[in-house]
């Protein structure tokens, strides 16, 4: 009896943890949009979009990423890091008001989105150093 109930629990936990629907996986609807943006976004006191993007690219290279694509007009960079795991990141840069740029990064680790604040903090810490500017929390 006890054996059966534990077995049931194991199978149940597999379902709960392992099986998201396609819609959930497609839209990642289990994470809060507002919270995610605040984790992934920082504001910098500069309006030089090109220089910021070039610095983002240099920082990604320092972090052992290979750049996949970049677009100045849209203000985006995508890159991949391979190190027995795969991390793919997209960074966007866009103006915020007259004096600031918003930098947002979103990344995935193997098959999972990164929603933990720490990796983003580390990324922005590295970017701050290269920018010689402080990253402000955007909200």
């Amino acid at each position: 009896m006890k054996f059966k109930s534990v077995l049931f629990l194991i199978i149940f936990s597999l379902f709960v943890v392992g099986c998201a629907s396609t819609q959930q996986r497609l839209l990642d609807s289990d994470s809060s949009q507002v919270q995610l943006r605040s984790i992934q976004t920082r504001a910098f006191d500069t309006t030089d979009k090109e220089k910021t993007l070039r610095t983002v690219i240099a920082t990604l290279q320092d972090l052992e990423f290979v750049i996949d694509k970049a677009d100045l007009t849209l203000g985006t960079v995508s890159a991949t890091k391979l190190k027995s795991y795969a991390v793919r990141i997209t960074v966007t840069v866009r103006p915020r008001g007259e004096t600031q740029l918003l930098v947002r990064a979103n990344a995935q680790y193997n098959l999972e989105p990164i929603t933990d604040p720490q990796p983003y903090q580390q990324f922005f810490a590295a970017l701050e150093k290269a920018m010689f500017l402080t990253a402000h929390q955007a909200d």
Binding site: K2, V17, A70, P119
Partner: protein, 175 residues
């Protein structure tokens, strides 16, 4: 046996739920400065487009196909598929197959990727710095990924920049 079941339960949860990112995946490593030096060279010119064109020509020399480029940011990325068969591994797998009577997968093919980034450096932008980074993914005969890694052998970068210098010269001569 039953005592182990709760353990098993927790084990499954950990295995399935916690495929978290390594702590240092997005932080600067102590080697990052040395790597940057190994992967970067400066050329005394203000003509970024000329250097980029030389890089594109060099990628073609090396059999890469260009995937993306953005001249305004000094970015080119390229890739190629190549065989990953190595004689040593083949012999090893053949011996194992004889010994264990089951077939053993060996490395079959690899995707090699490269990106090159140029940027003006120096007080008045009188130099163009070029940084190149390589990585590869290897698949075995069962189509499983066996390696995904950055290529950090200094000799690769040495040879690359030797070739780049040659390419810049050839482009200047329009050959």
């Amino acid at each position: 046996m039953r005592r182990f079941l709760p353990l098993l339960l927790i084990g499954t949860l950990i295995v399935i739920g916690c495929r978290t990112i390594p702590k240092d995946a997005l932080s600067l490593s102590p080697e990052s400065f040395a790597q940057r030096q190994m992967q970067t060279r400066k050329y005394e010119t203000k003509d970024e487009a000329k250097i980029l064109a030389a890089c594109a020509g060099l990628f073609q020399d090396m059999g890469f196909n260009l995937d993306e480029s953005e001249t305004k940011l000094g970015v080119i990325s390229a890739s190629k598929m190549r065989s990953a068969v190595s004689a040593g591994q083949q012999v090893g797998a053949a011996l194992l197959t004889i010994l264990t009577r089951t077939s053993h997968p060996t490395d079959k093919q690899q995707k090699m990727r490269v990106s090159i980034i140029t940027r003006p450096v120096g007080e008045h932008g009188e130099y163009i710095s070029v940084r190149v980074t390589f990585q590869r993914i290897v698949w075995n005969t069962h189509n499983q990924v066996t390696k995904s890694e950055s290529l950090a052998d200094p000799q690769i970068y040495q040879e690359f920049f030797d070739k780049l210098s040659k390419s810049i010269f050839l482009e200047a001569q329009a050959i």
